[in-house]
């Protein structure tokens, strides 16, 4: 019989990481994602799977605890929301430089600064373009349902270890807080120490006589060597761009107009597609599931089919830059976003699409 439960998004990913065989979670409370740490603590993970859960003194400490565990070959993670993720950028950059696998979760809230605790998508640039110093990328998964919050725990760890890279689940306050049904799957066993030595021979597990010492460092003072390290990193990102793109096409086959949206905005646009079809507008939705790697090729293909694209984001226009790069001027690409924790309504975004591409092109800012 299927194991189906009604869960919050934050609880679903917490259950997901337990079942994905996560070894350790290190985190610090922040709204709207504190349920992750709360759920893990309440679930006595130590007794259930042996998973360690620790409340750190700060987000900075959390990410560096993740660094230590990841460098020793364990499946480790942290979660936070926007201001906390900003604090973690140092550690994320160090993990990028040392190619350490880990799972990160950002349940995005409005910014800048302390902002608001309401949902937002204004951390796209920070997440997709690399929020810390140096030339690096993370794999970014954008869940649009509570089920995906659950699913991306396991997928995230798989991708992290497959490519030795950080995987960020870029959620938002709405997906984190809303409740939906979730289908759970079987428990994945945690790796034994012997398995870790085989799966991650680079990990610092203690130098044994059969191998040289393992060193995890992002430092190389020789610029010639440091350039080679960087070139190899870029090769890895290119390989990920070529092999790991994920997206969902919703009513795209006959679409003349296209919404491009991820996460909560994609849910809103999904409804707007239904409303649009009722109005006789052939509109579809391309939902990027991976924000890096971005579905550039798919969007370039769709640009040859549709008359215009509307990038809908709860931001001032961040993903739209990647949409425009993919479309490369073939058709008009417009942006519509609500800011500061406000979510747009389906008819609102549909009206904007109509105004931009179907009725005369005279854009007026939306007001409530």
């Amino acid at each position: 019989m299927k194991d189906i439960r009604l869960m919050k998004g934050n609880e679903a990913i917490a259950e997901g990481v337990i079942r994905a065989g996560c070894d350790g979670y290190f985190g610090y409370p922040i709204t709207p994602q504190s349920e992750v740490l709360e759920y893990l603590m309440a679930n006595k993970t130590k007794e259930r799977t042996g998973m360690i859960v620790l409340q750190a003194e700060s987000e900075i400490a959390s990410i560096h605890m993740v660094y230590g565990g990841a460098a020793a070959g364990k499946r480790v993670m942290t979660s936070s929301s926007s201001p906390g993720i900003s604090l973690m950028q140092e550690g994320i950059s160090f993990m990028a430089g040392t190619e350490l696998p880990c799972l990160l979760l950002n349940v995005v809230r409005g910014g800048p600064g302390l902002g608001t605790i309401q949902p937002s998508q204004s951390d796209y640039f920070q997440t997709v373009k690399g929020g810390g110093h140096g030339d690096y990328k993370m794999i970014v998964l954008a869940p649009a349902s509570v089920q995906e919050m659950y699913d991306f725990a396991k997928l995230g760890f798989e991708l992290a270890f497959k490519h030795r890279i950080q995987v960020m689940v870029l959620s938002d306050g709405a997906i984190g807080q809303m409740m939906e049904k979730v289908e759970l799957d079987e428990q994945v066993p945690r790796w034994t120490d012997a398995e870790i030595k085989i799966k991650s021979p680079w990990a610092t597990t203690g130098k044994t006589p059969d191998r040289e010492r393992n060193i995890i460092t992002s430092l190389d003072l020789n610029p010639v060597k440091q350039e080679i390290i960087n070139i190899n990193l870029q090769k890895k990102f290119k390989h990920i761009q070529d092999t790991e793109v994920r997206f969902e096409r919703i009513q795209c086959d006959d679409a003349e107009y296209l919404f491009v949206a991820y996460g909560s905005s994609a849910r809103i646009c999904q409804k707007a597609v239904l409303l649009g079809r009722e109005r006789g507008i052939k509109v579809g939705l391309l939902r990027p599931i991976t924000l890096f790697p971005f579905p550039t090729i798919e969007l370039a293909k769709l640009a040859k089919q549709v008359k215009g694209m509307l990038s809908v984001e709860m931001s001032a226009g961040q993903m739209v830059e990647d949409v425009r790069l993919a479309v490369n001027g073939v058709v008009p690409v417009e942006h519509y976003g609500r800011l500061g924790g406000i979510m747009p309504a389906p008819d609102e975004v549909l009206n904007i699409l109509e105004k931009n591409f179907i009725k005369e092109k005279s854009y007026e800012p939306h007001t409530n």
Partner: protein, 258 residues
């Protein structure tokens, strides 16, 4: 004329009374001649070898002069971001409670940028060992003022001497963390004379062996010279350390198990 023995003849096994621990690599130390880091490295590695802990040890190197400690220590090591070694070590130790985990940190790393991590790793009583080399200055970046710089001491960023009214007071972080219930053994040593080296080694032995007891964090501060940063000869710097550092940072055990 009597035969002068060659190096190879002298290095016969029966003549060997001391040799470098195999847990130090062949890499030439990058520390300035006269600096205490090399001796501190050697003592820690000697004890790990003597306790047969190489296969169970994971070390964490900081940012600072000892950023390249992993070049010299023949063990598995992680290089941590500035000040974050205690958090990194926490992550390792929580996931590998049976391993021997230590950090090796300087005063800027441990007592300035990493103060929060230091206090909390001690307060949680993580079963790790912290080696803290305190020379009262930022050595690697070129002799700037550290949290442990003494009053009126001249550095690159306190060229007229540390004015405690505007620049704060030297931080006795070791006394501070000794007050926390999470610390089990806290000692302050130096490595500038043979007698002090022997005492320091005993403290290091305790700090390493006590980790197995899982009774809390073990902490050994080594007050060291920085002849380059202090702009002195090695001998002058050792004398200055005795006259000025030791009165403020007195040597000896600060907290011992009951």
């Amino acid at each position: 004329m009597s035969h002068i023995p060659t190096k190879d003849e002298i290095c016969e096994p029966e003549n060997m009374v001391y040799s470098r621990t195999c847990l130090l690599t062949d890499n030439a130390l990058s520390y300035c001649p006269g600096c205490g880091h090399g001796t501190a490295h050697r003592l820690i590695m000697e004890v790990i070898e003597e306790m047969n802990l190489q296969a169970d040890t994971i070390g964490v190197a900081p940012v600072g002069c000892s950023v390249l400690a992993y070049d010299f220590m023949n063990i598995d090591m992680q290089q941590a971001a500035h000040g974050r070694a205690p958090a990194v070590a926490t992550g390792i130790k929580r996931l590998y409670p049976d391993k021997f985990v230590f950090t090796y940190q300087g005063d800027g790393d441990l007592a300035a940028i990493g103060t929060g991590e230091t206090i909390h790793v001690c307060n949680r009583g993580e079963n790790i060992t912290v080696f803290f080399v305190n020379n009262g200055i930022y050595g690697m970046t070129g002799g700037q003022m550290a949290p442990t710089t003494l009053p009126n001491m001249k550095t690159a960023t306190s060229p007229f001497g540390r004015d405690t009214e505007t620049m704060g007071h030297p931080l006795k972080i070791t006394e501070l963390i000794a007050n926390l219930p999470g610390t089990y053994f806290v000692s302050r040593q130096s490595v500038h004379t043979p007698a002090n080296v022997r005492k320091a080694k005993k403290a290091i032995e305790k700090a390493i062996s006590y980790q197995k007891l899982n009774k809390g964090l073990c902490f050994v501060e080594i007050v060291s010279n920085c002849n380059s940063g202090w702009k002195m000869t090695p001998l002058e710097s050792n004398k200055w350390m005795e006259d000025n550092m030791f009165p403020y940072y007195p040597l000896g055990d600060i907290k011992v198990p009951k």
